[in-house]
Amino acid sequence: MTVNVTEKETPPPPAAKGEPVLSVRGLSKHFPVRSAGLIRRKIGDVHAVCDVSFDIYDRETLAIVGESGCGKTTTGRLVLNLIDASAGEVVWQGRDLTKLRNRAMRPLRRDMQIVFQDPYASLDPRMTVNELVAEPLRIHGLYRGENSGKQAVKDLLAQVGLNPEHGARYAHEFSGGQRQRIGIARALALKPRLLVLDEPVSALDVSIQAGVINLLEDLQQEYGLSYMFISHDLSVIRHIADRVVVMYLGKVVERAEADELFRRPSHPYTQALMSAIPLPDPVKERERKRILLTGDVPSPVNPPSGCRFRTRCQKFANDLDNTQREWCVNVEPPLEAKFTGHDAACHFAAARTDILEVGADHRAVPGELASWPTGRPTDAQAATPMACEPDGAQREPTRLTDDYVVDAEGELVLESDLEKPAG
């Protein structure tokens, strides 16, 4: 499949400490959508992941956050080369993993392991815990002799906080938290450098979740692991992450160090996401004003033109005029630095420091950035193809006159049509 990644490359993420362990550049994944019936002709693409770039550094936790369908899990699988990328590269120790065949990939898999979300589905019910943990060792020929092999398994179980004496039990005899620990023991067995953690605590009750989070923090310290932590839960991410990538509909919308991101979120989606999370504090929670998004996530088969978030964006609907909206509708906002080490993909990005504060007015926009575009986009700007757009797509610039307004579903409609919208 050919994918037209635009000429303008996304700028590399700002350098942090030293060389990254893993670099991801322009990563895209399109899944074909086929017609029903016998021939199953390809009728479109699901733009699952589109032009994603980030780095993971040594002993660092990079978090990927977003809602269902934003492509965060697909990104995790692409990084491990479990599915083939449509475009882009994943560089690990100087080698582009997307170009490697399975045979060449296998030795590298020792260094990169994954922990899945559902500890009920990811463990074979017919294997004992000892066998489950020994399996990766056997596959890679590291289960040397019954005695040392058994000892290795026992050590692993103890490391993840399980009683090694329970090794002869089956997975169903354990609680959810304990099963997740078994999954972590399996991932650790090969002494990896990078763990991809795909929603590792989402299925667990809070009192159990905390234990697993603490375990992950301890293991990182002890073994110098790097984590790619995929989650929808910003509270967990604030707790565990060093750097955060926020995704929406397959694209990175904001990327920054964790403290920086939570201090001044700049993309309207990040702001809405933060404001939507209920705080376990009755006084704060009642006094907070929420940024309520309208509508639902659009279909990734046919994402909105320009900015993919515009159909749900409160800023687009309430704060911008039609001249400014033309940018959102026509021009894909590049992911670019808004502050030092803080990138956002929004033409009209502005930091909000009031999201997690109590009693602040959420509509107040402190300090618009100098980089806001002025006037309308030119025809040339408006005709620039979007990243990941299929070949041959001809686009006419959309010009908005004053008669256009945003309706209740986030669509741009003529004001005169507002009363009787087309069914």
């Binding site: 906080g161 910003l234 403290d259 404001s275 209920p278 009642r286 639902d296």
Partner: protein, 356 residues
């Protein structure tokens, strides 16, 4: 087992505002392995227009206790105790009498809207069906009212949406349809069982907003059941914490959040990562797992996980009693010792986190 003091009981009866009084409710299920005691001696009162939250982890009995109130438990459930709605006993009512109350007086919202909506009827038909169940009205009037209700819960273009089938709507919209059905007959109590658990946070915020609108519109009392301490903090006046089928702490939301007196509540709050805290504190998990509700040993069910446990905790199950210096009750022998205690002090840093 007695839970509330007699004094408390008379107060509940005398309360003119008391809408729903649950008194010493017990639910158990016979299984091949023995009797599972899912709910053990739960008592609470919901007053007119009040929002009460029931919070607990999976298997704590929070859903079963509300299904018992609605009379929706399977036939093999053994129920004892009393549930009075405006003074009328609900336990033991036959199906016909119960269905007159359901929807009309007490409405329920379930976790998964896809299973609570019928896939072969339009949403307008299903809301109209709820209206017809309790009111004489024309088809046209019922459909008009359906559209109006959809508008109230924040669905754009309700006149078109009433002819959609559930599969044509997103999860958040479906749950708003369920809320519209719940408020259709202007009920006195809405029971919402994990209403937002299956949804993304931005959609959760929309649905909670719709729920608050429904409450404001109908003036109904709300019982919200959830495992999410954040949701409960913002949407309830009083909360009850459940553990192993029992209420272990009840009181005003502020009291329970800021001055918890039951080690379990304290531990739950300590194990939450906080979005609103800048400095990272190590989380303080509760060790172990909730007990099996099959053949519970005597004593406090939290004893095996509780760092404060002493001999008395194994011997005697504590009653839910008022804690000194607070306005709320906790089921802990040491509730009066728990003043101004931090989670980190009690649950400490993981001393040998081996779980058996």
């Amino acid at each position: 087992m007695t839970i509330d003091l007699e004094v408390d009981d008379t107060r509940q009866e005398a309360d003119p505002d008391a809408l729903l009084v649950v008194d010493n409710l017990n639910v158990s299920f016979p299984t091949d392995d023995g009797v599972v005691q899912a709910v053990r001696g739960v008592s609470y009162t919901v007053r007119n227009g009040e929002a009460m939250g029931i919070v607990g982890e999976s298997g704590s009995g929070k859903s079963v206790s509300s299904l018992a109130v609605m009379g929706l438990l399977p036939k093999n459930a053994r129920i004892s105790g009393s549930v009075r709605f405006r003074g009328r006993e609900l336990i033991g009512l036959n199906e016909r009498e119960m269905s007159q109350l359901r929807g009309e007086k007490i409405a329920m919202i379930f976790q998964d809207p896809l299973t609570s909506l019928n896939p072969v009827y339009t949403v307008g038909y299903q809301i109209a069906e709820a209206l017809h169940a309790h009111h004489e009205m024309s088809k046209k009037a019922a459909l008009d009212r359906s559209a109006e209700l959809l508008g109230i819960v924040g669905i754009p273009y309700p006149e078109q949406r009433i002819s959609n089938y559930p599969h044509e709507l997103s999860g958040g919209m479906r749950q708003r349809v369920v809320i519209a059905i719940a408020m259709a007959n202007d009920p006195d109590v809405i029971i919402a069982d994990e209403p937002t658990t299956a949804l993304d946070v931005t959609v959760q915020a929309q649905v909670l907003e719709a729920l608050e609108t429904a409450r404001a519109e109908t003036g109904a009392a709300l019982i919200i059941i959830t495992h999410d301490l954040g949701v409960i903090a913002g949407h309830s006046d009083r909360i009850a914490v459940m553990y192993a089928g029992k209420l272990v702490e009840t009181g005003s939301t502020e009291e329970v959040f800021y001055r918890p007196r039951m080690p379990y509540t304290l531990g739950l709050l300590g194990s939450l990562p906080r979005l609103d805290q800048q400095e990272r504190q190590r989380l303080t998990p509760i060790k172990g797992a909730p007990p099996s509700l099959l053949n519970l040993p005597p004593g406090c069910p939290f004893t095996p996980r509780c760092p404060l446990a002493e001999d008395i905790c194994d011997a005697e199950e504590p009653e839910l009693l008022m804690a000194e210096g607070t306005g709320h009750s906790a089921a802990c022998h040491f509730r009066n010792r728990m003043a101004d205690v931090e989670a980190a002090e009690v649950f400490g840093d993981d001393a040998a986190e081996v779980v058996s």
